[in-house]
């Protein structure tokens, strides 16, 4: 990085959290710390919700995923708008009007204290692991650029996160996210413009798109129903809908965002904004990754994008032969890509078909050569499951972006990661304090006492996140890793909220035991089947609902009372759907 990059990076990293702290200043109550005093407008909540889910991981890992696997990952988000509509109809008004601090507080009103506590603990386990992964993402940046050890950078960023969260609470985090998302949008557009401008002479934008499509990098939609395939249209529409329902409807880190709204309508608007913007944004990010792939058709990429891994294999006796094999494969692919492009520009059908076949063969050969490098690393480092997807985009940025822009991109990534992690830590503290500490141990303390305990809990969860992050290195692509962790726990939370909203006959004990049953079903699916993880969301949620329904029939419980909220006149005449 140049001096200009350092100046831009440091100034941005100070300015963005500073702006958030300034906009969120003035509150000294628990309500302000955890719910921003319910004063947030829809656009701030909407951008904050996007920033929390996207954060640094999206910016780092998603383009790399398109580079390796094509654009099919976009299907993962097809269920999001559907989930948002359903949540806008149900969870948002229910939580908002109930006046709760956490989503799980509602479960006690609807069921009982043990169901609330179990849901809170499930959330803490899931989100506690996810926040560790989110902390690990920016450590990749430092590893690529400075060669620092992952563990040291994770530790440093974790400490900064904890300090930032304890100072600002949810208002500062939300306003930081607003600025952050604006800069991320600008950064993405700048990234696409840069990668296209870096294409060699004679390769236009349409040529680049054609080349990416020729080897399947633009496979945005796969209509084939395959239960073992992680990403296809059907798993996206159904499995992802359930996952998104669980994430946005039952995960306190998201629920807490729309609980900060000025009104129910403002909160609904915030998630409608997400419903419209999210899929195009993901498509755009993946498209940037596909264009990075095309760029590397004409500029040789490293065999392994993780520098430390390259240094490790460089000392091995077999390195020279593996590297030569890779170099030859890349040269062959470059020639094939140029031949294909020339045939396309001449509109020579016969040559075009032959060139496509050659290009695809060359692509398979370079993938094989890269795999040899990976195997050499795994053998020499005594590791398995090596994955450098997360390093691809950053390697490109640091090598080819102009001075100043690199610093801006790195600052955006660091800030986004810290802001996202801070929000998650804030929600972890909210559940720990409100659903466990205050409810079960110290119900009658002062507001100041709970504010202090919230800050202590933030520090404890921050410590845990840092420790977990130490072991995140070999979990594969971070995006997939986080979503896989979620798919083990969200279905249970989603199932119990479905029972709460739509099944008035189901009461506390039935709900509690149905959650445990659902979790057992998910674990069994994981251990004894090859079903792709997105389907766990459907299976687990349905298992909870069916189990809760059956348990309530066996117990012969009467319907529960409808939650009474002051000032709301229920229209029971049209209540059945």
């Amino acid at each position: 990085m140049t001096t200009l990059d350092w100046i831009v990076m440091i100034a941005t990293m100070i300015a963005i959290p500073g702006f958030g702290l300034w906009r969120g200043r003035g509150g000294k109550t628990t309500s302000h710390y955890l719910l921003a005093g319910k004063t947030m407008p829809w656009y701030a909540m909407g951008l904050s919700i996007m920033a929390t889910q996207a954060s640094a991981i999206t910016f780092i890992a998603t383009p790399g995923q398109a580079y390796v696997d094509g654009m099919r990952f976009v299907q993962f988000y097809f269920g999001l708008p559907i989930a948002m509509v359903l949540l806008s109809m149900t969870a948002v008004p229910i939580f908002h009007r109930a006046g709760v601090y956490t989503a799980y507080e509602y479960l006690e009103r609807r069921f009982d204290a043990k169901t609330r506590a179990l849901a809170g603990i499930v959330f803490l386990i899931q989100r506690g692991m996810a926040v560790g992964l989110a902390l690990y993402a920016p450590a990749i940046v430092m590893t690529v650029i400075f060669g620092w050890p992952d563990r040291l950078t994770t530790l440093i960023i974790g400490i900064v996160c904890v300090l930032y969260t304890t100072m600002g609470g949810i208002p500062a985090v939300t306003w930081t996210d607003v600025l952050q998302m604006c800069i991320i949008f600008a950064g993405l557009i700048l990234a696409l413009i840069t990668v296209i401008s870096l294409m060699p002479h004679g390769v236009s934008f349409t040529d680049a798109v054609y080349l990416a499509g020729a080897v399947g990098k633009l496979n945005a939609v796969d209509t084939k129903l395959d239960w073992d395939n992680r990403y296809n249209l059907w798993s996206g529409l159904l499995g992802s809908t359930f996952l998104m329902l669980g994430y946005f409807g039952c995960d306190q880190s998201q629920v807490q965002r729309y609980l900060t709204g000025k009104s129910v309508a403002q909160s609904k608007l915030s998630i409608m904004f997400n419903a419209i913007a999210k899929v195009p944004m993901q498509f755009f990010i993946l498209f940037v990754g596909a264009m990075v792939f095309v760029f590397y058709l004409f500029a040789q990429p490293p065999m392994l994008f993780q520098q430390t891994a390259m240094k490790t294999i460089a000392t091995q006796p077999a390195y020279s032969s593996v590297q030569n094999k890779y170099n030859d494969a890349w040269s062959k692919r470059e020639r094939a890509a140029r031949a294909l492009n020339a045939a396309r520009q001449r509109d020579d059908k016969a040559a075009l078909n032959a060139s496509i076949a050659d290009f695809r063969t060359a692509q398979r050969e370079i993938e094989g050569a890269r795999q040899s490098g990976i195997q050499l690393y795994e053998k020499s480092a005594h590791e398995s499951g090596f994955n450098d997807t997360n390093y691809i985009f950053l390697t490109f940025v640091t090598r080819y972006f102009p001075a100043g822009v690199i610093g801006l991109v790195i600052a955006v990534i660091m800030n986004a990661a810290m802001s996202s992690s801070s929000g998650e830590l804030n929600s972890l503290a909210a559940v720990s304090v409100m659903d466990l500490y205050r409810r079960l141990f110290r119900p009658d303390e002062t507001d100041r006492h709970y504010l202090i305990v919230s800050r202590v809990c933030t520090a404890i969860w921050g410590t845990w996140a840092v420790v977990f992050a130490q072991y995140a290195k070999n979990l594969g692509s971070l995006v997939e890793a986080i979503n896989q962790v979620g798919s083990y726990f969200y279905p249970v939370l989603l199932g119990v909220f479905i029972l709460a909203f739509f099944f008035p006959r189901v009461r506390g004990s039935a709900a509690f035991w149905s959650m445990l049953t659902g979790e057992a079903v998910i674990v069994a699916c994981s251990l004894f089947t090859h079903i792709a993880f997105l389907w766990y969301n459907v299976i687990g949620a349905l298992a909870v609902v069916i189990a809760g329904w059956l348990f309530s029939i066996v117990a012969g419980e009467p319907p529960s009372h409808v939650l009474h909220v002051p000032g709301v006149s229920p229209r029971t005449d049209t209540g059945a759907v």
């Binding site: 976009v74 299907q75 097809f78 708008p81 559907i82 948002m84 509509v85 806008s88 109809m89 149900t90 008004p93 229910i94 009007r97 109930a98 798109v209 054609y210 990416a212 499509g213 020729a214 399947g216 633009l218 496979n219 945005a220 939609v221 796969d222 209509t223 249209l233 009104s263 129910v264 309508a265 609904k268 608007l269 409608m272 419903a275 419209i276 899929v279 195009p280 498509f283 909203f501 739509f502 099944f503 008035p504 006959r505 329904w549 409808v562 939650l563 909220v565 709301v568 006149s569 229920p570 229209r571 029971t572 209540g575 059945a576 759907v577």
Partner: protein, 47 residues
């Protein structure tokens, strides 16, 4: 067993555009269908 939406889900405040939340939801779902259609056409065209 009947499904029943809790009373708190019924709205008194309409959205600032489109007149009602029902219309808003239809627009969002229509947008999703359009985006999937564009992605599908994109995939087929460049395959």
């Amino acid at each position: 067993m009947k499904f029943r939406l809790p009373a708190e889900t019924y709205d008194s405040e309409p959205p600032p555009i489109l007149g009602s939340w029902r219309n808003m939801y239809l627009v969002v779902l229509g947008w999703l269908a359009f985006v999937i259609g564009v992605c599908y056409a994109f995939t087929r065209y460049f395959a």
